[in-house]
Symmetry: C2
Subunit: 297 residues, 2 copies
Amino acid sequence: MSDGPVLERINRGLPTLRRSERKVADVVLADPHKVVPMTLAELAEAAGVSQPTIVRFANAIGCDGFHDFRIQLAQSVALGIPATQSVIQAQDDTGTTVSKIFDFSITSLDHVRRHLDLAAIDAAVAALAASTHIVFVGLGASGIVAMDAEQKFPLFGVPCSAPVDAHQQFLAASTSGPSTAFVAISNTGRTVSILDTVRVARERGAVVIGITGDRSPLAELSTIPLVVESLDNTDVYTPTISRLAQLVVIDVLATMVLLRRDASALEDIRTMKTRLATMRSGLHHEAVRDPNRPGRP
Amino acid sequence: MSDGPVLERINRGLPTLRRSERKVADVVLADPHKVVPMTLAELAEAAGVSQPTIVRFANAIGCDGFHDFRIQLAQSVALGIPATQSVIQAQDDTGTTVSKIFDFSITSLDHVRRHLDLAAIDAAVAALAASTHIVFVGLGASGIVAMDAEQKFPLFGVPCSAPVDAHQQFLAASTSGPSTAFVAISNTGRTVSILDTVRVARERGAVVIGITGDRSPLAELSTIPLVVESLDNTDVYTPTISRLAQLVVIDVLATMVLLRRDASALEDIRTMKTRLATMRSGLHHEAVRDPNRPGRP
DNA sequence: CGGCGTCTTGTAAGTTTGCTACAGAATCAC
DNA sequence: GTGATTCTGTAGCAAACTTACAAGACGCCG
C-alpha cells in the first residue's frame, strides 16, 4: 500500500476507504494542486468532513499523519499528475495539453528511474567498455534510439554502427564476434526480426544487451536484459513515451562508459567539441559528408 | 527573488543572507532530501540556530513562512536536485550516476515546460494542420528529432519527409511552396547549412517553424520561432538534454494537430495500431520495406 | 421488524508545532 | 570608544495537528 506516488495510492485504495474518507479522496483527486497549500482544517471544510477524518484518511493511504501526506502530495504534484488522471481530451486548451504531455513524460521518466535494475546497468557498462565494437539495432521508434546511440558512443573511440533495416541488422549480427557488444532495442521485445537477429548474434558469441519494456522474449534471449519499464498506456492520444526513457538509459550507459575511461578520452572530447563548434559555422561547404558525423547542431 | 525552484533561489540569495541564516542554507543545500521531513525545531537544531532564525530564513528566500518553505522544498526535491548541485563525478557509484542523469533530464523537461511559448505552439499547430505536406530538417542530434517527427506525423495522412543530409535538405527547401510546413530543428540555431536552407524555404513561401534553444539566428529567420529553452550546461560529462525536450515538443505538436482532426482520423490510427501489432510478429518476411514505416516495435 | 454489535464519524481536549514581540548581543560607523 | 543599527535568541502565544472518547449509523441476526 505504501508504494508509488500518493495519488496512485489513493486511486488504488479507493475501494477500501470509508464513505467520509472517500469524500476527502474525491476532493484531493479533483484538483491536487489546490489541496497542496491547504491546512488540515481547510481540507476538512472543503470535503465537508471533520478534522480527524482527514487524519484517518492520511493514515489509510499509507501516510504517517497529515504532515507526511501533505509533503508526499506536494512531491507527487511536482512530478505531474499520474497518467490515469491526465487523459488528453479534445476540448483541452493549449496550456492544458502541453502540461499533460510534459507531466506524463516527466512522471514516466521518474517511474523508469525507480524501476531500473542497477546491477544490469553495471553489467551492460562493463560489457560495453570491454568491447571492440558496438552494434545498435532497433526498428521504428526504437530505431531512432539506436541511431541516437550511434551518434553518442563513438566519442570513446569505439567503432559503432546502427544498421537501419532488418536485413542489414541480420548481416551485422552474422559478422559479429565475442568482442562485439550487440545492443538490441525493442519496447515490446517481441519484434520477430529483432529476435532472429539477436539469436544469430548470440550464436556468434556476441554479448547482447537487450533494452526492452518488460520481461519479454527479447529479455529472455539477451545476455544482459535491461528492462526500461515505462508507463506506456494504451490511450491513442497519449504519445509514445518509451523512446524518452530509452534515450535517457542510453545517456546513462554512454556517460558511465565514459567515466570508466581515463582522462585522455575526456580531453579528446573537449577538443572534439571545440572543433565541432568552429566547423559547424562552415558546414555548408562540405555538406556531402556523412550527415550523422558532424555532431549535434 | 520568488522565481524558480527553491534551491536555486537559495543559491542566488546566498550573499544577501545573514550569517545564521546562511548556516541554515548550508544545511539545506548539503542534503535537501534530509531536510524535507524535518520539523522547524529539528532544522534549527541541525543548523545550530534558533527557531525564529529558520522562519526568517524562509521569508528571506521568498517563502511565506516555514510551511510554505517545506512544501516548496519537497516539490523541488521531487524534481531532482538542480543541475548546479549534481555535477557527475567519476567516483559516483551507479545509483548516484543514474539518479543524477535522470534528475537532470526531468528537471530540464520541467524547465522547458515552464518556459514554453503557448502562443507559438498554437501558431505552429495551425500551420501544420493547414499544410499539405511537412518537411523536417535537422543535423546531428537534431536530425534524430527530425526523423522521429517524420515517423509520428504521417499518422494524420499528411505526407512528411525528413531529408538526412544538408544537400537533400536544401533540395527539399527549393521545391517547397506556400502550402509546405517546413520544420527546422537546431539547438544552437546557428548551423549555417540549416540557416541557408531555411532562407530558401521562406523565399519559396513555405511556413517555417524553427525549433531552437534560444533566441538565435534561426529564430529570427523563422515564420514561427519555437524556443525550447533547455538547461544544456557545458559540463562534458553531462549528456545532451536538448533532444529530449525537442522530442516532447514534437509530441505536443503531433498530439495537438491530431486533436484538430475529426474522429475519423482517430479511428484510422486505432486500426493502424492493431494492424501494426499483428504485422510486427511477421515482420521478418518482408523486412526489405522502408524500415521507418513499420511503426514502433 | 426490532434489538444488538460493530463499524464509522464527529466532538472535545491535549500536544505539538510554527509564529511574533521583545530584549540582549554583536557589529559597524563615526 | 561610544552610539546607532542590525542581528540573534528567549519567551510567550496562537494555530495546527493528534488522540481519546462518545454518539450515531449501518448491518446482521433473531
